[in-house]
Amino acid sequence: MAEVRPDEVSAILRKQLSGFDNEVDVYDVGTVLQIGDGIARVYGLSKVMASELIEFPHDVYGMVLNLEEDSVGCVLFGDYSLIKEGDTVRRTKRVASFPVGEAMLGRVINPLGVPVDGKGPVHTDKFLPLERKALGVIARAPVKQPLQTGITAVDAMIPIGRGQRELIIGDRQTGKTIIAVDTIINQKYTHTEDAKKIGIKPVYCIYVAIGQKSSTIAQVVSKLQEHGAMDYTTVIVAAASEPAPLQYIAPYSGATLGEFFRDSGRDALVVYDDLSKQAAAYRELSLLLRRPPGREAFPGDVFYLHSRLLERASKLSDDLGGGSLTALPVIETQQGDVSAYIPTNVISITDGQIYLEPNLFNAGVRPAINVGISVSRVGGNAQVKAMRKVAGSLKLDLAQYRELEAFAKFGSDLDKATQRTLAKGARLVELLKQGQYNPIPVEKQIVSVFTGTNDYLESIPVEDVKRFEKELLEFIELRYNDILETIRVERELKDNTVARLRSAIEEFLPKFKASEK
């Protein structure tokens, strides 16, 4: 070990001291009247602002939520058992804010901006307030660039554009988080030189985990790391064990960080996983603050809670740099009840929803997307042209299949047309099945969907469809990689590309051997 010279130490001390002003400190204080359940009532603090950060003893911070005639109601972000009645509370004179900057990427942060991954302090030089008013009409532009999720079913039928808000809704254990995580992993491509060349801007991702088990969060983080997705991702964590106030502000922290990227002309994606837990946390602290309960005991402003959050997702006009913030809120339903309070609220706020069903999930259709009621209200304009061309009939085919499927169960006497529709539907469903953490690039998705909608799968047994798709893609990649390249660069299917694709598939068809039964 190197020897430490005393004069070196004093030099450092002197350096630190030089930044220290010996001045009279003026601050505003109040006294804790009542404390408990993460809520404090404070007397004094007469000039405090709403949503201002206030400092309690033992480095516990709180946020002012209620300004009343004789007292101030606030929520605590730390251990409230350390605070006692009569303790002095100090104003910080800044509204609750979140540190933003590139240094946040690759880190796991709590909603106050404190890193929790043990990798040391985050060096950022900028704070932005947690609650910011969403942009107005003038600042926005229509959603027109695609955000590829890497999930064929989504990119083909429920396309998501940059700046959109697409809800992922479904019961527990239906793969909601998987869709979000796959989407984040799929953004890896946008950070490559290859993407830059064809004009695809990188997407920075923020995953906000609210009220989840710490083990689940750790799993998500390790999966992101494994797939090299943490380089462009920030994970904001308010685990189930954190106090309700932290869970309540977590999505706003995520939105604030996302806005930082958006406002500097970049594209960002933020996943709120999940907002039902956040609503429950907000309900908890609203009830403790004695705000009157409404439906399902949620406070009256629970709609505003989510609408002001999701309104912050936006696509900026070119004058403002053309950045975007895409939001993927997640809502967990109970027994498929989408007409509960929070699900209906969030459905009405977002630009569409991806609805996941346990029945499908258990039947092995994964991702378990119910295509019938999943929609994307603005993503259509953002979809890659080639995809729009090949996927046009996909949704209709599947809808017809679902309708006939129920009938087919009753009798066996079906006419030719019905049988064809059923056969095609079954193959399309098979084609859209996709494993976890396995995002597919858009050009391959296009080829897959092309074979499905153009009846090339007719002769393939249903159980072989996945294998056929895999081998076909390998074949094309090996022999006719230029087709994929063309689709990727041109992003549309010109007639000669279609012709070449057809001949490639036709060349492969006889080579494919159906597995023996």
Partner: protein, 184 residues
């Protein structure tokens, strides 16, 4: 309705009445007498809040204590409070009235805490400085706290002006803790 709201209602009613009748200063001194009496006597406080003692008895006690000490109007007000069954809030009401009085006269209360007692001249000087700072009349009271080591702390309403050595050391400690200079 909270106790605070009720107290404020009664206090501002008394304030308005006193102004109307032009006996504001008289009432103010009376209320100060009441405030000091109630504050210093625990028995009196217990008596006021006790649910066992009858209202009529309470009224008699109040009359006995304050008769001849305060003006007729002030005594009437106390009786009125008892009549309205708000005698348990009497202390709060009087305190609220005194706060309203201070606000009207432009007086702020300040408390100076120091490790050693201030001399009269020092107090005067500090009062003058604080009056310049707040642009209001300052009523300064003092207390001693040895833990401050040096300097002093002034608390004016909710604002603290902290010039104590103890606080300086605390800040210095924070400065050292957050400094990330290393030996390399």
């Amino acid at each position: 309705m909270s106790n605070y709201n009720i107290s404020t209602r009664y206090a501002s009613a008394l304030m308005q009445l006193a102004q109307e009748k032009d006996i504001f200063l008289q009432v103010a001194t009376d209320m100060e007498t009441v405030f000091n009496t109630v504050r210093d006597s625990r028995e009196f406080q217990l008596m006021l809040t006790s649910p066992v003692i009858k209202t009529t008895d309470k009224e008699q006690v109040i009359l006995k204590v304050f008769e001849n000490r305060i003006s007729h109007d002030s005594l009437n007000f106390l009786q009125f409070i008892v009549m309205k069954n708000r005698e348990d809030l009497l202390f709060n009401i009087v305190r609220q009235f005194l706060a309203l009085r201070d606000e009207r006269l432009g007086i702020v209360n300040a408390l100076v805490t120091s490790p050693t007692e201030f001399t009269g001249a020092q107090m005067d000087k500090l009062t003058k400085k604080l009056e310049e700072y707040t642009r209001k009349k300052v009523r300064l009271s003092a207390q001693v706290n040895r833990n401050l080591l040096g300097g002093f702390i002034v608390k004016i309403e909710d604002t603290v002006i902290d010039a104590s050595l103890d606080h300086q050391l605390e800040l210095l400690k924070e400065e050292f803790m957050k400094g990330d200079s290393s030996l390399n």
